[in-house]
Amino acid sequence: MTTHNDCAVVLFESVSHALGAEKIIKGAGINCKLIHVPRHLSSDCGICLRFCADDRERVEALLQGKLHFFEIKFL
């Protein structure tokens, strides 16, 4: 098991948005992965996008105005 203390996730309203965001973030050369939304963050059955917490500002800037997302949470 890996721990994700240095990770953050972006939460979206739908899987379509998460898939769109993955393209944008990967396209900018930032490592990321679509994962199940951790239970403590949401009761939703959807997916979220995990990335290294150091990239938080870049990720936010890349998505801002391009694709709607709920919020970014640290794990």
Binding site: S14, S16, H17, L19, G20, H36, G46
Partner: protein, 399 residues
């Protein structure tokens, strides 16, 4: 079965306006690959294969967005066909007291929902078209009222192939932003250039199984930003999103996509749209125009015996040609073509009684030959030869 394959080999398929055949090999390969290697439910879990299935669906939206010049792929809801898309647009978008304008060349996928809405207090205005199926844009302008909520038009008739002036109608609606412009692109998506911005289209209904080369059971509806607040969904259910709430999501595309989608079909549609993008609409159009022109020219040689409907000008119609042979019913002609020449076509009213009234062929109907990208000049010559043969035989019977 081998026997079935043999039957396919010996026939000449001229019913592409009903559904295109054959499909590119990549379409079938994509469907097999999805079912063999992925097979999971898109958007319903975070496991790898569910995400892979979701990617296929997402890439399909992206390919469609590129084709129709739609900026945001999530503005496209995937449906089972153009009929479902039109029902969402019309039943979801029109309320009692609203007025809606349509043309005299529409398919029943537009007319039937509109006739039901009429009984619920929606005012319907049908703008007449010429006997060749042509619409004068200014007639749409004259039909506009204060309470006009929507103009719904077919981009091209499934009966005569006549291309309607969608861009001109869109232009005259630019100073009426509250009027939604809904276009039925069942016959034209993939066959003619479509640009939702240039044409000022708010709602674009399309099917996947005709000129987009996807399988049956695929289609979609583009909804301009903001209009999802004005168009209710006809079906509610699981979307894989906002699962903690028992209320339907109100955002695109989930609002209109309840239940497990036709992912295997969408995988095929993705490959079909990619085929269109690779070939380019312009190339596909040029080929269909050339074949249509050749067929129309063959029909002109038979003008004493064959009545042709529609523009009779390949540049003003899709690869659809309707005709009647004097003294032969449409159904007898179609049976003759299949039994004697293996030609598969469609006689009758083509689910469009309104269009047949406009061109003067109601209720007897017409014979419709509809060509496709995979037809050849030889196919067209074979079709002309079959027509000549039937005309000649009819002459002999009479003498």
């Amino acid at each position: 079965m081998a026997a079935e394959g043999k039957v396919v080999m010996e026939t000449l398929y001229l019913d592409n306006a009903a559904t295109s055949f054959p499909k590119p090999d990549t379409v079938i390969a994509a469907m097999i690959a999805y079912q063999q290697n992925i097979g999971a439910n898109p958007g319903r879990s975070g496991h790898g294969r569910s995400i892979e299935a979701g990617r296929i669906v997402f890439e399909t939206r992206e390919a469609l967005a590129r084709l129709f010049h739609i900026e945001d792929p999530l503005r496209i809801a995937l449906t089972k066909n153009a009929t479902e898309s039109l029902n969402i647009a019309l039943q979801g978008g029109l309320r009692p007291g609203d007025s809606v304008i349509t043309s005299g060349m529409e398919h029943n996928s537009v007319m039937r929902p509109l006739r039901v809405l009429e009984t619920r207090g929606v005012e319907l205005s049908v703008v007449p078209c010429s006997p060749r199926g042509e619409l004068e844009p200014d007639d749409v302008r004259k039909a506009l009222r204060k309470n006009t909520r929507m103009v719904v038009l077919t981009h091209a008739s499934n009966v005569t192939g006549t291309i309607l002036p969608v861009e001109a109608v869109g232009a005259l609606l630019r100073d009426r932003p509250e009027v939604m412009f809904c276009v039925d692109a069942a016959q034209t998506a993939g066959a003619l250039p479509i640009d939702v911005e240039k044409m000022r289209i708010d709602l674009l209904a399309f099917t996947g199984h005709k000129s987009l080369f996807g399988p049956q059971g695929t289609g979609g509806l583009y909804i301009r930003e903001g209009l999802e607040n004005k168009i209710s969904s006809l079906m509610m259910g699981g979307t894989g999103s906002r699962s903690e709430f028992e209320q339907q999501p109100e955002f695109m595309p989930d609002r209109y996509e309840s239940g497990t989608p036709n992912t295997i079909g969408i995988a095929g549609l993705c490959a079909g749209v990619s085929f269109v993008l690779e070939q380019t609409v312009e190339t596909l159009r040029a080929r269909e125009e050339e074949l249509t022109s050749r067929f129309l020219s063959g029909l002109r040689d038979l003008r004493n015996d064959v009545l042709v409907y529609g523009p009779q000008d390949a540049s003003r119609q899709t690869a659809v040609v309707s005709f009647n042979i004097k003294g032969v019913t449409a159904s007898d002609a179609a049976s003759y073509f299949e039994d004697n020449r293996g030609i598969l076509c469609r006689p009758g009213l083509h689910c469009a009684p309104s269009a047949h009234r406009t061109i003067g062929t109601f209720p007897q109907g017409t014979v419709r030959f509809s060509l496709g990208f995979f037809n050849t000049q030889q196919d067209v010559d074979e079709a002309c030869a079959a027509l000549r043969e039937l005309v000649k035989r009819k002459g002999n019977d009479r003498s």
